[in-house]
């Protein structure tokens, strides 16, 4: 569901404006603005410390920005500034409509609870009360992320890093979110595991028609996953455009450096 | 029979208490311990009981030590349970420790500080050899220690005075309209806690627990690199303003131990680099406790100075919720109360699970054969 040029763009799912975050006198990110349409995958790239995580956290309601607005097309209130919602409403909206895949599965999983229960939890959060049905959809999802369903009751620590990441992906998709945030979802994994997980993510995102904002410093990941790219440097967006355009014909000198450094490796 | 022992009832309780009284007295051939002896000769036990019992009364604390057979947490509990029934007339003015009649005053920060070092009555530098001369009781009281050649400074300036002209040490915050300090004996814990609430909890906190936390911090679990700025112990006057009079009158004198720990602070956007303080204060002479308290106080101030907080000593909920030995001792020991209703429920479950386990095993075996 890429944004097709020439057609009338549907209403944005997410609309960010003037988003700025200061940590004391250290700049996190400044004056970021963009729209995200349903089903669109936006990649945020840039070197370490450029403000990717800061931006993602501000957009996803984890970190209150210093200035700016994050409007999301909520089911209950329509297009609304998420920081204008009451905290219970915002948390409910996050539970119901969003997912967040952390770089480190430990940050996104309950490590003391079985993999299966981790995957089922979002359903329970939304009021599901039938054990058998939840168990079945957990099994279906473990299958979808290519995990051995017989290990449903194992604790996360008994899974490898790549497997933990799959559990985290299943946990963040099972409740049918419309927007999923991902911060370096393949960052901690070795190259071969990374490739399989990326393939899987790409398929799932396409099949489900998900909108995704994915942070990465890896241009290969960006090319594979994203429809559109935003390049950050020193807390600001220096270039933005369709992924192929940005990577094949970078305009900003910093982007050129970023792209060429990848090619040299 | 098991049934009788759990349903002991009236008689068992009465008899147990008689037995306790008998054991407390010990061999009747040995002189009964007088409360005054405890007060005078086990004075550090008395001091600890007053401190953690939050009640300054040497006689009551000595009585509690005697009644508790020397079990100090039990004595602290006795004193607390008494204290809570006392009427409140009001709050005293803050005591001025600079106006303390100092019996001991040392600083590790400078070789010589205004007012000088006063070693006072301390175990420090004694060799920890059992003194068998003490076992031969009935000797003459020890010679009084000689008087100093020069009179002591009064008031005794505190460590902050050394830094005053250079602004190297964070200031005391003194406001005339300070809000009533938090009172944990009247209000439940609240989080995040302000410093007044934290300091009160630490002042009432168990010496052993705070000592271990302070120690853990020194060993690298949330270190604040403390330096002992000053310890002082001595007597201060307590002043109170009765409504009828409208001016302060002195209502008594208490012995206090005060400790200031210094920790460097690299500065932030708003604050210049400076030394920060950890503060410890106890009734009586409780030096180990005052020092531990100061280190823990400083560790808990991580939010103010933007330190990363990942050690137990920096975890406010962990430290404050678990430092009170009256709460801790009661809850740990409540496990002695009968739990056979819940245990029965548990037993039932485990029997059922065992049964299912063996049935499954048997089925597997059958299938295999």
């Amino acid at each position: 569901m890429n944004a097709i040029p020439g057609r009338i763009a549907p209403a944005p799912l997410l609309s960010v404006e003037g988003l700025t975050k200061w940590y004391g006198h250290v700049l996190g990110c400044r004056d970021v603005a963009f729209d995200l349409r349903p089903g669109e995958v936006l990649g945020i790239v840039g070197e370490s410390g450029s403000g990717k995580t800061t931006l993602l956290n501000c957009i996803s309601g984890k970190l209150t920005p210093t200035a700016g607005e994050v409007r999301f097309d909520t089911r209950r209130f329509g297009l609304t500034d998420i920081y204008g919602l009451s905290e219970p409403d915002r948390r409910r909206m996050q539970r119901e409509e969003w997912g967040f895949v952390h770089q480190n599965p430990r940050d996104g999983l309950r490590m003391r609870v079985s993999g299966g229960a981790n995957v089922a939890e979002p359903l329970m959060n939304l009021g599901a009360r039938h054990y058998g049905q939840m168990r079945q959809s957990t099994i279906d999802w473990l299958d979808r992320v290519e995990l051995d369903t017989r290990r449903i009751d194992d604790k996360p620590r008994n899974f490898s890093g790549g497997m933990q990441q799959r559990i985290q992906v299943a946990r963040n998709l099972i409740h049918g979110p419309r927007l999923v945030f991902m911060d370096e979802p393949t960052g901690g994994l070795d190259v071969s595991v990374q490739a399989r997980l990326l393939d899987l993510l790409r398929e799932l995102v396409r099949d489900l028609g998900l909108a995704v904002i994915i942070v990465t410093h890896d241009m290969a990941v960006a090319r594979l996953m994203a429809d559109r790219l935003m390049v950050m440097k020193g807390g600001e967006v220096v270039e933005t455009g369709l992924t192929d355009q940005v990577l094949d014909d970078p305009q900003h000198p910093y982007t050129q450096l970023l792209v060429s450094s990848v090619l040299q490796i | 029979m098991a049934y009788v022992s759990v349903k002991g009832g009236e008689k068992a309780i009465t008899h147990a208490h008689q037995w306790l009284a008998e054991d407390r007295r010990g061999d009747p051939g040995v002189h009964e311990l007088e409360v005054a002896q405890v007060r005078e000769q086990l004075s550090l036990a008395v001091d600890r009981v007053m401190s953690e019992g939050s009640c300054y009364d040497r006689d009551l604390a000595a009585l509690a030590v005697k009644q508790a057979r020397g079990d100090l947490p039990e004595a602290i509990f006795l004193l607390r349970a008494y204290r809570t029934t006392l009427p409140r007339f009001g709050a005293s003015l803050p005591v001025e420790t600079e106006a303390m009649a100092v019996r001991r005053r040392v600083s590790a920060a400078f070789k010589d500080i205004p007012g000088g070092q006063v070693l006072g009555p301390t175990f420090d530098y004694t060799h920890r050899l059992l003194d068998f001369a003490l076992a031969a009781e009935g000797g003459a009281p020890p010679e009084p220690a000689p008087q100093a050649e020069e009179p002591q400074a009064y008031p005794m300036p505190n460590i902050a005075s050394v830094f005053r002209h250079e602004d190297l040490l964070e200031h005391d915050v003194r406001t005339d309209e300070a809000p009533e300090p938090y009172d944990l004996t009247r209000q439940p814990m609240k989080f995040p806690a302000d410093r007044d609430q934290r300091l009160q909890a630490l002042a009432r906190g168990d010496e052993g627990f705070l000592l271990s936390l302070a120690y853990s911090s020194q060993r690298g679990w949330g270190s604040t690199h403390p330096l002992c700025g000053e310890i002082r112990m001595g007597e201060v006057a307590v002043e109170y303003v009765p409504d009828e009079l409208g001016f302060a009158i002195e209502i008594g004198e208490v012995t206090l131990t005060e400790c200031t720990m210094l920790s460097g602070f690299a500065g932030s956007a708003e604050r210049p680099p400076q030394y920060t303080r950890g503060y410890g204060l106890t009734f009586g002479h409780c030096e180990r406790k005052a020092m531990s308290m100061a280190i823990v106080d400083r560790a808990l101030r991580h939010r103010e100075v933007g330190e990363q907080a990942d050690a137990p000593v920096q975890d406010e909920e962990f430290v404050l919720y678990h430092s009170d030995n009256v709460e801790a001792s009661g809850f740990v020991q409540h496990l002695k109360l009968p739990h056979y209703v819940d245990f029965q429920a548990d037993l039932q479950l485990i029997r059922r699970l065992r049964k299912e386990h063996f049935e499954r095993r048997a089925a597997l075996k059958e299938a295999a054969e």
Binding site: - | T185, K190, L347
Partner: protein, 309 residues
């Protein structure tokens, strides 16, 4: 620890105020009780006092009782369902001492019943108050150690974590294994710990005619279930809540529907089951009910008797 109050406590020049606590403190506690009744299941923080019994031994329940008791009350105190367990005896003595109150073992006659770990078998009536002693008021504490977190969960009604634990139970044991302190939902809003009563007693809480007050002294919380309130034990549609049952009946009174304690008779594995609610059992026997071991030594021991004091 049971008679910390000197003999003078009951004399005209008593050392302590009526019912031990001073009137200001009682007023503070009563305000907390009213708030708790107004928000069923919500844990109200209160300025719990140090009591002359240790924390964990009923300080919360004692403060609640002290705040509401008057000379006209009739007080009953049970632990594990029985009136003659040591701590119950000790607490009952305390109130007889400091509140000049009549005491009873008769559930029907009592106006205030203080309890640890049980709800009496006999249904409670309007006008009665059941005071629970609560060691840990926070139902989520076993799953989340931080108070700051659990308070937020209640505020936002985010109870997924509790269901996760039930889910795990079923995955591991094929059933919800919680047996005592089984969490309940009050008026479909607040998740609440029923205190460590066996889940056998949970259904008694729903639509109960009596006022139910819960006191946690050490944790400094009061909560309440007003009369005729919905109280639902958590479960799943396909794993509905169920209570314990026994194959045995009470050896003394033959009761088939009461909560039973297991009594070890010797070290050869012989045992008998008797009602945990000692007054219920005695009353049944007085009414002529006979169990398979009627006449056993325990029968005399636990027979219906006049109030001790």
């Amino acid at each position: 620890m049971s008679t910390p109050v000197p003999a003078l406590a009951n004399a005209p020049e008593r050392y302590y105020n009526y019912a031990y606590l001073d009137e200001q403190t009682k007023r503070m506690i009563r305000r907390s009780i009213l708030k708790a009744l107004a928000i069923p299941g919500y844990q109200v923080p209160f300025g719990s006092r140090e009591m002359p019994v240790p924390y964990g031994w009923g300080t919360g329940g004692i403060q609640l009782t002290a705040a509401i008791i008057g000379p006209d009350d009739v007080y009953k105190c049970i632990d594990q369902g029985a009136d003659d367990t040591t701590n119950a005896v000790s607490i009952r003595r305390f109130f007889a001492n400091v509140a000049d109150v009549a005491t009873t073992e008769d559930t029907g006659e009592a106006t205030i019943i203080q309890t640890r770990h049980r709800i009496p078998e006999k249904p409670l009536k309007q006008g009665q108050v059941l005071v629970y002693q609560v060691p840990q008021p926070e139902p989520l504490r076993g799953l989340e150690a931080r108070e700051t977190e659990t308070r937020a969960m209640h505020a936002y009604e985010e109870y997924g974590l509790q269901y996760v634990s039930l889910y795990e139970n079923i995955s591991a044991y094929g059933r919800i294994a919680a047996t005592a302190g089984y969490p309940v939902m009050v008026e479909e809003r607040y998740l609440m710990s029923p205190s460590p009563i066996p889940k056998f007693d949970n259904p008694k809480m729903a639509q109960n005619e009596a006022v139910m007050l819960f006191g946690a002294g050490r944790e400094k919380r009061i909560y309440a279930v007003p009369p005729f309130t919905r109280v639902r034990s958590l479960d799943f549609e396909d794993y509905p809540f169920e209570t314990q049952t026994w194959e045995e009946t009470c050896a003394l009174c033959g009761a088939e529907d009461s909560y039973l304690d297991e009594v070890i008779l010797d070290d050869a594995g012989d045992k008998m089951f008797v009602c945990s609610d000692s007054h219920h059992c005695a009353e049944r026997r007085a009414a002529g009910h006979v169990g398979p071991m009627a006449g056993h030594a325990l029968d005399q021991d636990a027979a219906l008797k006049e109030p001790a004091e």
